[in-house]
Symmetry: C2
Subunit: 337 residues, 2 copies
C-alpha cells in the first residue's frame, strides 16, 4: 500500500470519455502515478496511451485488453473503473479488480447503493473485498455528490430535518451526444415512452442517491416512487449533435420521491433537457434551521465525475476500510493534490 508520501499507483479501467479524462487528470496530479490502462475495445488495446490521447508527455503505458493480466503485472494500489452503469454488467470486471488486491473506485451508478437492485451481488463483492483487504466504492457527481452527499453534508448543521427537496437542472444544449441520447433528445414522445418502459432511457442512480441520503439520515423509508417524463421542445432546437423539432422530446424530467410515515420526505427532481434556461443545483431542507442552498450555474456532470473519482482515491486508501464501502464511510470530500 502507498505510504502517505509516495505516489498512489493507479490503473484506469475503461477508456471511454470519462476514462480518458481520468487519465488526463491522473497524469497532471502529483499524488498519482498512472501505471496501467485497460480497455476491451480492440481498436484501443495495444496502442500507447500517449498516442491514443494525443499526450506526448504521458507515461509510457499501453492499453491492455486483458484486465486480469494487466492487473497481475502492474499490481496497482487502486483502480478507477468507468465502464458501465449496472452492477450486473460490470460484476466480472469488479471481481477481477478486487482479486488483484487493488482498491476499486467505480463510476458504476448502481454501486453507489448496490443493495437496492443487487443485494446478492453486493454481498459477494463485499465478501471478496474483505477477503482481499481492499475497499470497493461507487461514486461520481450524480449519483455520489450533487443529490445525496452535498444535501447530506448540509444537514450536518441541522438539529432536525422534516424534508429535503433537491432540484438539479441541467441544460443539455452543449453536452456530449451520449448525454443527449440518454435523455431522449430528438425522439418523439412515443419512442421516448417505449424506451423508458424498456429501461433503456433515463438517468441511472436517482433511487440510489435517495437510499444513500436516507441511510445517512438514519431514515427508514416506507416506499419510493420514480417517474420519468419527457420535456417537450416548445420550438425547434438545434445542438451541435442533433436537431429537435417542435413538439418532440428535448430531454427528461425524472423525479424520485421517498415516503416516511406516509409523507414525501425526500424529493429528488432531475431535469436534463436541451434548451433549459439555466443549469443549477438547488437544495431545500425543511427543518431547524431550514436551509436553501444553490450551486448557481450548476455542476458540470462529466468534469465533476472525473474529479470525484480521482479525489476519492486517497480518501479510500487512507480510511483503511475494507469491503464494499459507501460515501457515508469516507471523510468529507475534498480535492486531492
Amino acid at each position: 500500500m502507498a505510504s502517505s508520501n509516495s505516489k498512489i499507483r493507479v490503473v484506469q479501467y475503461g477508456l471511454g470519455h470519462i476514462g480518458q479524462e481520468v487519465v488526463h487528470l491522473l497524469i497532471k496530479k502529483p499524488r498519482f502515478a498512472l501505471v496501467g490502462v485497460i480497455d476491451n475495445d480492440p481498436l484501443k488495446a495495444g496502442r500507447s496511451v500517449s498516442e491514443l490521447l494525443g499526450m506526448p508527455h504521458a507515461p509510457k503505458v499501453r492499453v491492455s485488453g486483458d484486465g486480469p493480466a494487466c492487473l497481475a503485472r502492474v499490481r496497482p494500489d487502486a483502480v478507477i473503473h468507468t465502464t458501465g452503469s449496472s452492477v450486473k454488467g460490470t460484476f466480472s470486471q469488479l471481481v477481477d479488480i478486487l482479486e488483484s488486491g487493488a482498491h476499486c473506485i467505480s463510476s458504476t451508478e448502481e454501486l453507489l447503493y448496490p443493495d437496492l437492485r443487487n443485494p446478492a451481488l453486493a454481498r459477494k463483492l463485499d465478501r471478496l473485498a474483505r477477503q482481499e483487504q481492499v475497499a470497493l466504492l461507487g461514486t461520481g457527481v450524480n449519483p455520489g455528490f450533487a443529490m445525496d452527499i452535498l444535501p447530506l453534508c448540509l444537514t450536518g448543521i441541522c438539529q432536525s430535518v422534516s424534508s429535503i427537496h433537491v432540484t438539479r437542472v441541467l441544460d443539455a444544449s452543449h453536452r456530449r451526444l451520449p448525454l443527449q441520447r440518454k435523455i431522449g433528445a430528438g425522439l418523439n414522445v412515443r419512442e421516448f415512452k417505449n424506451l423508458v418502459r424498456a429501461e433503456k432511457l433515463g438517468h441511472v442512480g436517482l433511487l440510489e442517491s435517495m437510499m444513500l441520503l436516507a441511510e445517512g439520515l438514519g431514515w427508514k423509508l416506507d416506499r419510493c416512487a420514480e417517474k420519468i417524463e419527457p420535456k417537450i421542445a416548445p420550438r425547434r432546437l438545434a445542438t451541435s449533435h442533433l436537431v429537435i423539432s417542435k413538439g418532440s422530446v428535448a430531454g427528461l424530467r425524472q423525479v424520485a420521491t421517498g415516503f416516511r410515515r406516509g409523507k414525501p420526505v425526500l424529493v429528488l427532481d432531475l431535469l436534463m433537457f436541451v434548451g433549459a434556461k439555466a443549469s443549477y443545483d438547488f437544495i431545500q431542507i425543511k427543518g431547524r434551521p431550514s436551509l436553501e442552498s444553490k450551486v448557481i450555474k450548476g455542476i458540470h456532470g462529466d468534469v465533476a465525475t472525473v474529479a470525484a473519482l480521482v479525489n476519492a482515491v486517497p480518501r479510500v486508501i487512507e480510511s483503511g476500510k475494507t469491503g464494499l464501502i459507501s460515501m457515508l464511510d469516507l471523510p468529507v470530500p475534498r480535492m486531492a493534490p
Copy 2:
C-alpha cells in the same frame, strides 16, 4: 462504549446559551441520553436541569459544579463542551474530560485547528486523548462548517482549485446581546479599535478555518493575514438590546487571507453587523470546474452550532479514532437521529 443500538450517554459541560440549547436537543433525540450537566456557576450548580431550563419532562439530572466528580460518577460515552473560545482558557476542563475516559466534542473555536496558536497544549491534549483511547474534536458552524468544511466539500468535485473566496454575511439585528457585543455594536470607532488591539473583540476562529481548509486541500500557505474593521452605522439603528447612533459601530468586517506562492488563494470574508440587508453564505471556487454556491438566507450561527456539536458525537464515536482529531478525519457531516 455505546454499541450502535444503545443510546449514547452524554454529559453537557457548560450551561450558557449554547449549552442550554444542546441540552434541549439531546433530550429530543432518540440517539442520546443526557446523563449529566456540569457548570461552574454557583447560581446553577446543584439545581435540577428540568427546573433551570423550564423542562418538566427533562431527565432527573442536577447541575454539578464539580466536573471531575460528576464525570467519575456517571462515566459518559461523550462530553459536549461549550465554555470558551481559547484552548488555554479551557485546557484544564478538557484535561478533566479526557482523563475521565470520555470522548470530547468542544465548541472551543481555537480547538478547530489548535496547532495554530497552541501547538504545545495541542500535543499534550493529543497525547492524553490517545492514552485514554478517546477522541477530542473542536467543531461548530463557524469555525467548523460554513467557511471551511462546506467549501472543502465542494472541492470534492473539482479537478483543480486555484482559489476559494468565502463571504459570510450575518445580519446581527435579531441576534443575542453577546453576539452584538462580540462584534462591537454600539461602540464608537475608537473604542472598537482599542478592543480589537487588545484582542477583546472579533470573531475567534477565522484563521483556524483557513488553516483547516488549507490542510484539507494539501496546501502549504506562505503566510496569512487577518484584519478587523468596523462597519459604521449609516443611520440610527435599534435592536431589542441596544441603540446604535449614526456614525458609531454597527458591527465588523473581518477578513483572513491566505497566500500561496505569493498569491491570495484563500479569502475568508466575514461581515457581522446590525442592519445588514440580508444574511447569506457565498462560496466562490475558481478552478476546474469553477463553482459558485450560496446558502440563500445564510446559516443561523447558534442553532447550527448546537446541531454541529450534537451531530458530531456519533461520527466521532463510530470513527474509532483517538487523539486530537479534526473535522477532516470524520465522515461527511449529517444530522444525527
